[in-house]
């Protein structure tokens, strides 16, 4: 009888084959693990891209053709691409990840949008968006945008000065400040489901700031309607202030007698002030504000006083201690 335990010499794997098989398995483990690591990396480090297909705005008066242009309406610096403007920005109502806002806001529906203008005004009114936009034709305004985080852009907005809206509702004599409010709707704005900020987002301006011609009620970028991620359908732009003052998706504008509360200064009053004027000499408590990363450029550039709009707005703050009123 044959010994069952005895392995015939012919059955033993030759060493050369055995080691090859081992190397083969090892190469497989290496490749598979590297691929898995790559996939995990890609999942964690998504970069946002995409086209903007919002409606083309009609009758936009180009910044170079405007006859009533105020110095500062048109910055002579390279414009940031629409792709970057629309895929790198803060809008906590949708995501706290600057590159996650665009996709989170993609389905945001602004149909039937209304803006209530109320408070200390002679003619309070709830505007349908279309009526609001008819107050004045959209003008192209090419502004610098400086984020408090230390990056900046040059953005061709479309809109008209907030003062034109305020003129329609006629501010009463007691109105000293303007308070703004963003839509509160956690179903449409998923970021509002977490309490990272105290919703709704609120902002405010002093009356003279609100009436300044640079202060823009914007409804478009690059001649198109604002994409949802940039504050559709209507937002504020104050180019000499840090970006967070530019409240997005506005539903309420209220004229008031006392300085209104503002979201970021309420969140951390030692870091974010009511005025939030761009100022290279007053650092954020945690980081420097002396320089900025212009999106699309390689090196950092020096940050300008009032973001380069000192000539236009400097007088508003004459005699004020800008270290205290940051």
């Amino acid at each position: 009888m044959k010994d069952a335990n005895k392995i015939a010499g012919s059955e033993i794997t030759p060493p050369a084959v055995y080691f090859n098989r081992r190397n083969f398995i090892r190469a497989g483990i290496l490749a598979a693990s590297a691929a898995a690591t790559g996939v995990v990396y890609r999942k964690l480090n998504r970069v946002a891209t995409g086209e903007i297909k919002t409606a083309q705005l009609e009758g936009v008066i180009s910044a170079s053709a405007a006859t009533n242009a105020v110095p500062g309406f048109r910055v002579d610096e390279a414009e940031t691409s629409l792709e970057d403007i629309s895929h790198y920005n803060n809008f906590y109502e949708f995501s706290t990840d600057k590159e996650g806002v665009a996709s989170a806001a993609a389905d945001f529906d602004t149909k039937g949008w209304r803006v209530s203008v109320e408070g200390l005004v002679n003619k309070p009114q709830v505007f349908d968006l279309d009526d609001l936009l008819k107050i004045s034709p959209p003008e192209e305004r090419i502004y610098r945008m400086r984020c408090v985080e230390g990056w900046s852009m040059v953005i061709p907005w479309a809109g008209f000065s907030l003062s034109k809206l305020l003129d329609v509702v006629e501010p009463a004599s007691g109105a000293k400040f303007v308070a703004f409010e963003t839509l509160l709707d956690p179903r449409r704005m998923p970021g509002q489901r977490s309490d990272v900020l105290n919703w709704p987002y609120v902002e405010g301006l002093r009356m003279d700031e609100a009436m300044h011609p640079l202060t823009l009620l914007a409804s478009g970028i690059y001649g198109r309607a604002l994409p949802p991620q940039d504050g559709a359908p209507i937002r504020l732009v104050t180019p000499w202030k840090y970006g967070f003052k530019g409240i997005k998706s506005i539903v309420k504008i209220k004229l008031v007698a006392t300085q209104p509360r503002t979201t970021w200064s309420e969140y951390a009053s030692n870091e974010y002030g009511f005025y939030a004027n761009v100022n290279p000499h007053v650092d954020h408590p945690r980081w420097s504000q002396a320089t900025e990363q212009r999106i699309g450029e390689s090196g950092r550039r020096p940050t300008l006083m009032f973001n380069g709009y000192e000539e236009q707005v400097g007088h508003l703050y004459a005699g004020m201690d800008l270290r205290k009123n940051f």
């Binding site: 790559g38 970069v47 946002a48 706290t96 990272v196 990363q293 999106i295």
Partner: protein, 209 residues
């Protein structure tokens, strides 16, 4: 474990540790790092440092719990990966954020608390990287070497605090790192408390009466 297997494990970590770097370089070359590539590079290299530090800290608990002693072979390479990405993180800050200016790098680093904490983490990792060779382990002796390498705990804690300190409002991600790290450190504390105590010296006999 055979010499051959150890070499393979080293290679495995090396290749996987290089994957994020390779993808960063690839994406940079193809302009696919998004609108703010400078920030992306700084953030991602910092993130990789924290991930590798956390993985390094996970080796010992995992080894003790599973009894797979060969896991120890991963630890040194993981730690070196963390140190490598930490250096890269600093170089990105130095070049992209501070424009290769030594004076502005130093003033910023001394002025900003989050940078002081971050630099502390990196500086603490330096002696650990230097003493990571077999020869150094022998020279220091196991006991001293282990004591020195407990600095890794401090470095990891500093790293997470450094991340937490610069987040504007959404602290969820740094808190995830903090939570994982806490578990890994708590495990060590529990093991330390439950270590077999040296038998108490017999009480001196008291003479009765």
């Amino acid at each position: 474990m055979k010499e051959n297997d150890i070499r393979f494990i080293k290679l495995l970590i090396l290749v996987n540790g290089a994957v994020p770097l390779a993808l960063l370089v690839w994406d940079q070359a193809h302009k696919r790092l998004g609108a703010n590539p400078q920030n992306f590079l700084i953030l991602t290299t910092g993130m990789m440092t924290l991930i590798f530090l956390t993985l390094t800290m996970a080796v010992t608990p995992l080894r003790k719990i599973t009894g797979w002693n060969w896991l120890i072979q991963f630890r040194r390479m993981l730690g070196l990966c963390a140190f490598f990405y930490g250096c890269l993180h600093f170089l990105c800050f130095f070049s992209l954020d501070r424009g290769f200016s030594i004076s502005s790098t130093l003033t910023e680093m001394l002025k900003r608390k989050y940078l002081i904490v971050g630099s502390t983490a990196l500086i603490l990792m330096l002696p650990l990287a230097i003493t990571s060779t077999n020869a150094m382990i022998k020279r220091l002796g196991g006991k001293h070497w282990r004591a020195l390498h407990r600095l890794a705990y401090v470095a990891a804690i500093c790293g997470v605090i450094h991340y937490y300190m610069q987040v504007k409002a959404d602290v969820r991600q740094p808190l995830v790192f903090a939570a994982v790290l806490s578990v890994l450190l708590a495990w060590r504390l529990v093991v330390y408390w439950q270590r077999p105590k040296p038998a108490p010296a017999p009480a001196p006999a008291v003479k009765q009466g």
